[in-house]
């Protein structure tokens, strides 16, 4: 018997239609990336004649080698290596930073009673309503005043407050039996010891799931790095792509390199999501619900 079909009729035509819809869906999802990949394997001159079709060309290895800095540096295209590194540092910093400060604040509001506890909770809650898009200019001014423009700190710090992560960890902590706290206190373990040796190990699945989501969130940031990184050497790969595409449109025939860059920009987060699919799916539905 089919796993979930029970008494419902097994309609062959319906199942076939379902597969058809899914295959079409996969095709639509893959198509833009596939075409980008095809473009990245052709010589630049091919684009002028409109000769790029749907089959890969012979220049893939050469194009990617040029992008990562091996072989002849392409004109008008900055080296990709440093940009990938900048993106990686930003994504890692945002993910680790958000998780660290949220774990600490969730610990504070769950395991201690102190004046202004609820006030602190509401202050954290308010950050939900202040996405960077709404406070662009004044935040930029603060970061400029603190001399954090073109630094990793300037990229990372303004994005790491997290109400969602704090709520999530508080929820996790609330499910941990009080007996554990009592036992720890009886053994003379202080709060930080309890935090390191009991709470952190018990929350590691949630931490890992959140890390996957936040790494992707960090890697894909656009507006904020665009404003804070005014020097090319600090630019992230996602923000650089727009400048590259503008070049391809107006001056040099570099679409093959633009698409190569796009592939390199989307590969790391896509690899993370595919490698940690289960964590990601569970994490997403838990954080957002």
């Amino acid at each position: 018997m089919a796993r979930r079909d029970g008494m419902v009729e097994r309609d062959g035509a319906l199942t076939l239609a379902a597969h058809g819809v899914l295959i079409l869906g996969v095709a639509v999802m893959v198509l833009p990336v596939y075409l980008a990949f095809v473009a990245s394997t052709h010589p630049g001159a091919d684009f002028l004649g409109g000769r790029i079709g749907v089959l890969p060309g012979p220049d893939g290895p050469a194009n990617y080698a040029a992008l990562v800095g091996l072989g002849a540096p392409p004109p008008g295209v900055p080296p990709i290596g440093p940009m990938l590194w900048n993106s990686f540092v930003m994504a890692l910093g945002i993910a680790v930073g958000k998780i660290a400060i949220s774990l600490l604040s969730a610990f504070a509001v769950s395991y201690f009673r102190f004046p202004f506890r609820v006030t602190a909770f509401w202050l954290i809650f308010i950050t939900l309503m202040l996405p960077v898009e709404v406070r662009i200019l004044p935040t930029y001014k603060v970061v400029a005043d603190l001399a954090l423009l073109n630094t990793p700190g300037g990229l990372i710090l303004p994005l790491i407050a997290s109400a969602t992560a704090t709520f999530l960890f508080r929820q996790v902590f609330m499910t941990i039996p009080d007996e554990m706290t009592e036992a720890a206190r009886m053994d003379g373990a202080g709060p930080m010891r309890f935090f390191w040796h009991i709470l952190l190990p018990l929350s590691r699945t949630n931490i890992a799931a959140l890390f996957v989501i936040l790494f992707i969130y960090g890697w894909n940031q656009y507006l904020w790095p665009l404003m804070v990184t005014t020097e090319a050497s600090h630019a992230t790969i996602v923000t650089s792509i727009q400048r590259l595409a503008a070049t391809a449109n107006q001056e040099a025939p570099v679409w093959h390199l633009v698409m190569g860059t796009a592939i390199l920009a989307l590969l790391p987060p896509v690899a993370v999501i595919l490698a940690m699919q289960r964590l990601f799916v569970d994490g997403l539905t838990e954080t957002e619900k």
Binding site: M29, P32, L137
Partner: protein, 294 residues
């Protein structure tokens, strides 16, 4: 908001634990938001030399500004189209995945990864497909007699950013709809089937109503996404144009403040957006509370 029943007695430690989060919140969130609120009440010249209190004049000016009203229209059209399209496709794919039996997991893997693609990167991929000179899709459209040039045609530009934004969001909706479908009690569907209800009738009478909480949640999330997370899509492709055809509210805040240096107006626009996010957040939390009672 409750604390644990068993807590630690420390008096100072909790403040130290909260310090990093509260410091970041105060310096990079509350202070700038306060500045925006205050700045909205002043008119400042472009060089920042003089500043004059104007009360609510900046807001009144927005309400009179045809460019702002146009951005409101564009934002609603854009958000509605993105949310509608990605929700419909997400639901369709989730329903299909439910019927796919053992292959559902494989399809899910093949369908969820666009979530990880940056909006700006997705936008560049779509630009390339639809580029009037080199794009495969533009060439195909030409074959069908449609002249595509999103650099000149405002409606085509809007359609392009809608497609890119929706493409990226389908996987998210699919995941939540799929989870919602799996949570529907199987006997309910079986009983309806025994009573002779066909697949369409079962969907409209049972499945869709039971998915309502998921749908409401997703509508809010999708509208929030379309409002705030699509800046990169617009900036990387159309730059708000041609004309003002793809200038959304968020894009306009950026353009007026960062490029036009009209701080008073930009702050007032930020405050309006703030009110919108606040409303969306409240809606989202209302929904979560209701879910808890189910």
């Amino acid at each position: 908001m409750q604390a644990k029943r068993v807590t630690f007695p420390n008096k100072v430690l909790p403040y130290l634990l909260l310090a990093p989060q509260l410091a970041v919140t105060a310096v990079f969130f509350l202070w700038p938001a306060g500045e925006a609120l205050l700045g909205a009440l002043y008119a400042e010249d472009a060089f920042g030399l003089s500043r004059q209190f104007v009360g609510l004049e900046n807001f009144a000016a927005l309400a009179r500004d045809p460019a702002y009203l146009e951005a409101v229209g564009v934002t609603f059209l854009f958000s509605g189209a993105v949310a509608g399209l990605s929700l419909a496709l997400g639901l369709l794919l989730a329903l299909a995945a439910e019927k796919a039996g053992r292959l559902a997991g494989l399809y899910r893997t093949l369908l969820i990864w666009p979530y990880a693609v940056a909006p700006a990167v997705a936008a560049i991929l779509f630009w390339f497909m639809f580029d009037p000179n080199v794009g495969v899709a533009a060439r195909a459209l030409r074959g069908l007699g449609v002249t595509w040039n999103h650099f000149l045609d405002g409606r085509q530009a809007l359609l392009l950013v809608v497609l890119a934004a929706a493409w990226k969001q389908v996987s998210y909706n699919l995941l939540f709809f799929y989870a919602g479908l799996r949570a529907i009690p199987r006997p309910l569907i079986e009983a309806a089937a025994l009573d002779g209800a066909g697949p369409v009738r079962r969907f409209t009478a049972i499945v869709f109503p039971l998915l309502a909480p998921t749908t409401v949640f997703l509508v809010v999330v999708n509208v929030t996404y379309a409002f705030f997370d699509t800046f990169g899509i617009i900036h990387a492709t159309t730059g708000g144009g041609p004309g003002r055809a793809t200038t959304t509210l968020v894009y306009k805040v950026f353009k007026d403040g960062f490029e036009g240096l009209d701080l008073g107006s930009s702050s007032a626009q930020s405050v309006v957006l703030l009110a919108i996010v606040a409303a969306l957040t409240v809606l989202q939390f209302r929904h979560i509370e209701r879910k808890v009672q189910y």
